[in-house]
Symmetry: D3
C-alpha cells in the first residue's frame, strides 16, 4: 500500500505541478459533492485501489464509498464506483485517477477477451515483461483480474534463457550448463527455442521448461509431444492474437504468453460526474 | 536528463529486481557485442534517449552509437539504432529499453497517422492530460515527434474550466468570474462548453478560450463563427477518431485535442538483436 | 501538507542532527508543559501551520491549541499561540519552529506595510521570484497574509520575456514571435520594457502584458496611457520602496511587483515561553 | 558538494517547475553567451559555489569562469563573476543563482559590518541557530566570509541549557547535574543566565560556559569578572545591534552571538547581464 | 520513530523483494495467529521496538502485545514477546524482525557480560564508532541496555585527535593547537597517546581528555596518576577483552572503550513460533 | 555500483554527521598522504570495493591504488591495500571504511573456515537470510569470497515452505498444493521437514526440494537415501557448527545452510596507517 501511495503521489505531482489553479480558483474549499464513475463501454474493472488512493492522497475525505470489485464485468452505463467527499480535491485528482483506472481496466478487459477466446481449454494465458515502465505491478494485477495469470515478475525471479543469451553464451548447451550451475537450487531453468532441433538440444541440456518462440501451430503440436515425453513445461509465445490464440492453445501447450495484454490494450472509456451536496 | 535517468533507474529496478540471474549466469562479464534495433513494422521513432539511457544507467559502455533521429519515419526491416557495448548489461537492459521505445514510438506513430489525416489544414492537433502515469513528459514529446502539438502540461500551467468545475462553482458565470480574479495576470482563462447557449454565456463571461466538448460537426461550425467574432480561441475535443478528425478540422477550430494519442496507441513492434564481437 | 511536513522534517534534521543532547539530558520524557508564543513587536502573523507542524513531526502530542489566524495583525506583548504538550519535543523543536514563523511573519508584516502605503488605490502589489531557496510556497502565502498578491509562481506557469531573453533572442520582435508560437494557447505573453520605444515595439509584436522596468514615475504614467489604448496589462517593477510605491501606484499601473517583500523583510521578534504542568 | 548540489537541485525544481517556458520558446538551444555578475552596491561576497552549482546542475557548460573569492570585499559596479556558457540554461538558472548569492552575500556583508564595529577588540562575534530553514550551512559559511565565527551547528554538537530547559528541569542545579551526567566526556556544558545570582549558581553547579542573556553592559562587566575567577567561558547575547555591540565587547566577554546576522540581513543587489557570443 | 521505520522499511525491501511468494501462496489473507518469541539461550533483550516496527510496517494489525522491556535479562526457554495478528505479514516479516532483535540482543548480552566483569568498580565501559554500517543508533542503544554507556556518536559531536591526525598535523602540539582554535567553545578536546611522553606533551598542549591506546596495565596506572594531577579525563582503549577489562578498570581510568561490543558480538538465538487462532 | 555508493553515503552520513570536526581542525586541506591497510590477523579479504567507495564518495582523489583481490587469503602483518590521496577525507572516511571491510572480511574468513572443514566433499555450504539488515548483498558476496555459495536472496526468488507456513496452511499437503499452484512455472517448490514422516509427506505432495531442519546425522543419512530415490534436492540446516559440519556433509546432503556465516562472524582486525607525502 505504501508503494501504491508513492506511485500515486508521483503521478499526482506530475499531473498537478505546484497546484491546480483552476480548481483552486473556482471551487470553494468547503464544497462537498457526490461523485460517480460511469462506464461508457463494457469491460472488466481493475485498480479501484489506485483510483481510491488518488483521492486519499489528496485528503478528499472520502465517505460512502461503494464500488464493484476488481475483476467484475460491467456494461456501458453502469455506475462502477460512487462516493462523497470534498469537491476541490476530487476535481484535482479526477484526471490522474481516471488515467490509472482507464488504463488498467483496459488491460483487464483485453485480458478477459483473450481468456474468453480459449474458454474450456486447460491452458494458462499469461503476461510478459512487456509492461509499461513503473506500472508493472498494477498491470500484472489487471491481467489476473481479466482472468489470465502472471509469468515471472522480473529478471530476478526466474531463469529464462532467450535467443540473445544463447548468442552471447555461444550456444544452447553452454548457456544451459552455466544457468544450471549458476543459480540457486530452488530455481528451474527455462529456455527459448525456435525449432525442433533446438528443442531437442534444450531438453538434452537439462532444461526444465521451454518457450516455443513464434512457431507455427503444427510445429508447436510436434514440440508439445516431445516435451510431454521429457516432462518439460512448455510455453508458446510470439505474435499471439485474438485470432490465433485458440489454435495455439489446442496444440497442447501449458502456457501462452502474450505481450499485447500489457503493451497494447486500449484504455476503457470511463467518466467521473459529480453533483453538489 | 537528471530526471530521465531517475525514471529509467526506477524502471530498471522494477524490471530487474535484485539482479538479472539469467544473464549473470550465462554471459561472461567481458563479452562485448554489436546490437541492432530492428523495426518489425512501419512507424515514427520516439525516445531514443530513454532507450540509450537504459544502457548508460547499467554502465554498458556504449560505443559506435548510430541512430535515426526522433521524429523520423521508418519502414519494416529498417535498422533504427546500432551500437556496441558489454553484452551482459545490454541483455539486462534490453526489455526495459524496448518497453520505453516501443510504447513511445507507438504514440509518435499514432500521432503521425492523425497528423496525416488533416494534412493541409491549418489546425493544431494536440494531446490531453490523458497520459500514462509517470510517462507524461516522454509521451508529450512523442506527440510532437509524430507531428502534433502539446496542450497545457498539468493543472498548474493553464486554466481550463471543465464541466465538473462549472457544477461545483454553480454555473459558467461564477466559475469564470472566480477564475479571472483568482489567477495571475499572465494566464488566459479557458472553459468547456457543450452547446451554443453555454458558448454565448462563456464569451459574455470573459473567456479567452473555449473547448467545444463532444459537439457535432455542424454545431462546431456554428461555434467557430461565434468565436471568430468574439476573438476567442476555439478547441474541439471528445471522441475524435481517425475517421472524424478531418471533418472537425474543416469546421475551422484552432485546435483539436485527442486523448487516444496517449492513452490508446498500440506499441510498435521493435526487436533487439546482437552479435558477439 | 505532505510537502510541508517534508520541509519541516528537513529543517528539523538540519537543526537537530542526531539528537538534542541538552534536552535529552535535562528534561524528563514524561514532563508536560503549557507554552505560549509571545510577540515582542507588532506585526501580521504567518505560517502557524509550519510552526505547528514542527511539533507534530516531533510527536509532541499537542493539545489545547489556540492561535490567532494567519493574516491577523498583532501587537507587542500579545499571545499569538498557546498549547500544551510534551516538554522535551517542544524544546527540541522550539528554534526551528521560531525560525519558520519569525521569518514568514516578517514577510507578512513587511507586505502589510507596503499594502498600507497604497491604501485606497486600485493597484495590486505582488511578489517576485526573488524568494528564499526552498521557501517559495510559504513566502508567497505570507505575502498574501500581508495583503498583497502573487505573481507567477515559477518559470513554468507564465511567459515573461526579460531583458536577457531579448538579448538572447535578438530583439523584442523575434522574442515575442517565438514566445507566442512556442507556448500553448492558454498562456498570455508578457515582456519587460525599459522605455517608450520598447513599449511600442512590444505592443506591436503582440504582447498581452508588459513589465515596465525601473522607469521614472513620469515615464510610467505615459506608458500606462499607451497600454490602456492597446488593452495590455501593465506592471511596474524595479527598486520599489516604501517611499515611492504610492507614486508608482498613482501613475495607474495594474500591478507593482516588489522583490524586497521576500528577499529583505527582517524577521519579527517572537518568543516561546513554557510553564511546567 | 553532493549536498550542495541536492540543495541547488531542489531550488531549481522549485523555481522552474516542469520547464522554463519563456526561455525554451525564445532562446535557441545552440546560443552561447558571455555573462557577468555585477554589484549594484558595496559588500562582501559569499556563496559563489552555490551560484556556480546552479549552472552546472543545468548543464550550462560553463567556461572561462573568473570570480573574486568568497570573503572578498567589492564595490558598487564591480564585476564579481564572469563566465561563458549556453544561453538557455544560464537564463533558466539566473534567478535561482541570484537568490542564493544575493541572500548569502547579504549575510556576509552584514557580518562584515558587525566585525568592523568591534575592530581591534579580542572578542569573537558569532552566529546563532536563528538561520533560515535549510540554508544553515551556507549561512554559517557566509558568517565566516564576513569575518565572524560560528557557534555550535545544531542541537547535537553542543550542550547549552536555555531558560526553558531550566524551567523544565526545575532549576539551574538539577539542569546542570543532569547535563553533566548525561553527556559524553568530550562535551562542555554551557548554560544561559540572566542575572548575577543565576551566574553564581551556574558556576557552583559546574558550568563550563555561560551565556549572559540580555544583560546590561554594566551587569555584563560584573559577570565577566566572576567568570574570569572561575575560569568559565563567557558569551553575551540578546538584542545585539550595530550600535551596542562595541560596548558589549569592551565589557570583556569572550563571545557575542547575534541572531540578526542570519535572520535579518537584507539581500545585496546583484545583477546578471549577458552578451551573445 | 520516523527514522526507525525508514530503516525497517529498507530492511524489509531487502528481505522481501517484490513479494513473499511462499507466504502469499500458502497462507490465506484472513488467517490470524498467536505468536511467541522464544529465547533459545540466556541474554539481555534489546530492540523490541525494531522487532515490533517490522510487523507494523507490514500492517500486521498487532494486538495483545506483551513484551519484557529492553535491558531485561532472560533465560533460555523464556517467552520474551507475545502478540496476535495477521498470519501472512507476520510470516513475511519474521526473518527481518529476528535479524534485528537477534543481532541487537547479541550486543546487549555481550555488553552485559563486560559490565559484569567490572562489577563494583567506578569505571564507565563504553562503545566506539566500530559499529555496523547503518545500525549505529540501535547498536548504541543496545550497549546501554547491556549496562554500558556511549562514547561520542559520530565525528561531529566530539573532538578526538587520533594517531593519524597527529601524523597529518605534524605532531601532538600543532594538532592540539589547531583543534582548540578550530572548534566552537562548547567542545572539549581529546587526544590519543601511546606512551608517557606523549601524555605529558598532550597535557602541556591543553588536552581536556586523553585516550590511552593499547598501553600495558602498568603504564595505564602511571598515566592515571599524571592525569589526576592535571585534571584531565582519562580513557583506555585497544584490545580490551573479557579477561583484561577488570585489570584495566582497576588501574583507575574513567572510561574504557571496547570495539568488540558492537563489532564482534555473536547473535543470540531467538525463535518465533505461531499458532493459528 | 550506484547502489553501493548509496549505501556508503548513508554510512558516511551516519558516521560523520554534519562534519568531521577533528579532521577539519587539525589537517590542512592540501595535505596528501600514503595509506596502508594492514592485517592484524590472518583471514580472507572481502569488500575492497566498499572500502574504496568510501574514499571516492568523499572525493579523496585516490591514486596508486594497489589491493589484493576479494577472496584472497592473507596473513597477519600483510599490507592488503595501499593508496595515496588527500589526507583529510581519508581520515574522515577511515572508520566507516574499516567498519565495512572488517565486518565483511570477518564473514569471508569465517566462511573460509567452514569451507575448509568440509574439504574434499561434494557438498555446497550456503548462507541463509540471517544477514545484517541492509548489508545482505555485501554479506552474500563475502560468503562467496570465503568459498561458500548463496541460497535464495530474499522471499521473492525462491519458494521455501517453513514450519510456520505449514502451521498456517494447515499441514504439509495443503501448503505444497497451494505453493505449486500459486507460483509461476519457473519456480521449484522447497519445504522444511523435521522427521522422516514429514519427508515422505513432502515428497508425496510434490516437493522439488527439502530442507532437513535440525535432524541428527543419522536421520539425515536416512533422509538422503529417500530423497535420492525421489530425485529431490536435499539441504540440511539448523545449528551447524565448525565441529559438526563435516559429519553432516558426509551424510550426503547436497547443501548445508549455515546462519552463523553471516550473523555471528567476528570482525577481523585491520588497521589503516598513513604517512605524509
Amino acid at each position: 500500500m505504501q508503494e501504491l501511495k508513492a506511485l500515486v503521489r508521483a503521478a499526482l505531482a506530475e499531473g498537478i505541478g505546484q497546484g491546480d489553479i483552476t480548481t483552486n480558483a473556482t471551487i470553494r474549499p468547503d464544497s462537498r459533492c457526490q461523485a460517480w464513475l460511469i462506464a461508457k463501454q463494457d469491460g472488466i474493472l481493475s485498480s479501484t485501489k489506485a483510483f481510491r488512493a488518488v483521492f486519499d492522497c489528496l485528503d478528499a475525505d472520502i465517505h460512502d464509498w461503494k464500488a464493484i470489485h476488481d475483476g467484475a464485468s460491467f456494461e456501458r452505463g453502469d455506475r462502477l464506483i460512487e462516493f462523497q467527499g470534498w469537491t476541490a480535491p476530487i476535481l484535482t485528482g479526477e484526471r490522474v485517477a481516471l488515467n490509472f483506472i482507464q488504463h488498467l481496466t483496459g488491460i483487464a478487459t483485453f485480458a478477459g477477451e483473450f481468456r474468453k477466446a480459449v474458454e474450456g481449454l486447460p491452458v494458462r494465458l499469461c503476461d510478459t515483461r512487456k509492461t509499461t515502465p513503473l506500472l508493472r505491478k498494477l498491470e500484472k494485477e489487471a491481467v489476473v483480474h481479466g482472468g489470465c495469470t502472471n509469468h515471472r515478475y522480473a529478471l530476478f525471479d526466474g531463469v529464462l534463457i532467450k535467443e540473445n543469451h544463447i548468442t552471447g553464451a555461444g550456444g544452447i548447451r553452454p548457456a544451459l550448463e552455466r544457468a544450471i550451475k549458476g543459480t540457486h537450487h530452488l530455481m528451474k531453468v527455462g529456455i527459448e527455442v525456435t525449432n525442433i532441433d533446438e528443442l531437442h538440444e534444450a531438453i538434452a541440456g537439462g532444461a526444465d521448461a521451454v518457450l516455443l518462440d513464434n512457431m507455427s501451430v503444427e510445429m508447436i503440436g510436434e514440440a508439445v509431444k516431445i516435451c510431454e515425453d521429457a516432462n518439460v513445461v512448455v510455453e508458446a509465445s510470439g505474435n499471439i492474437t485474438m485470432e490465433n490464440v485458440r489454435a495455439v492453445a489446442e496444440a497442447g501447450v501449458h502456457l501462452i504468453s502474450i505481450g499485447a495484454l500489457t503493451h497494447s490494450a486500449p484504455a476503457v472509456d470511463l467518466s467521473l460526474i459529480i453533483k453538489n451536496v
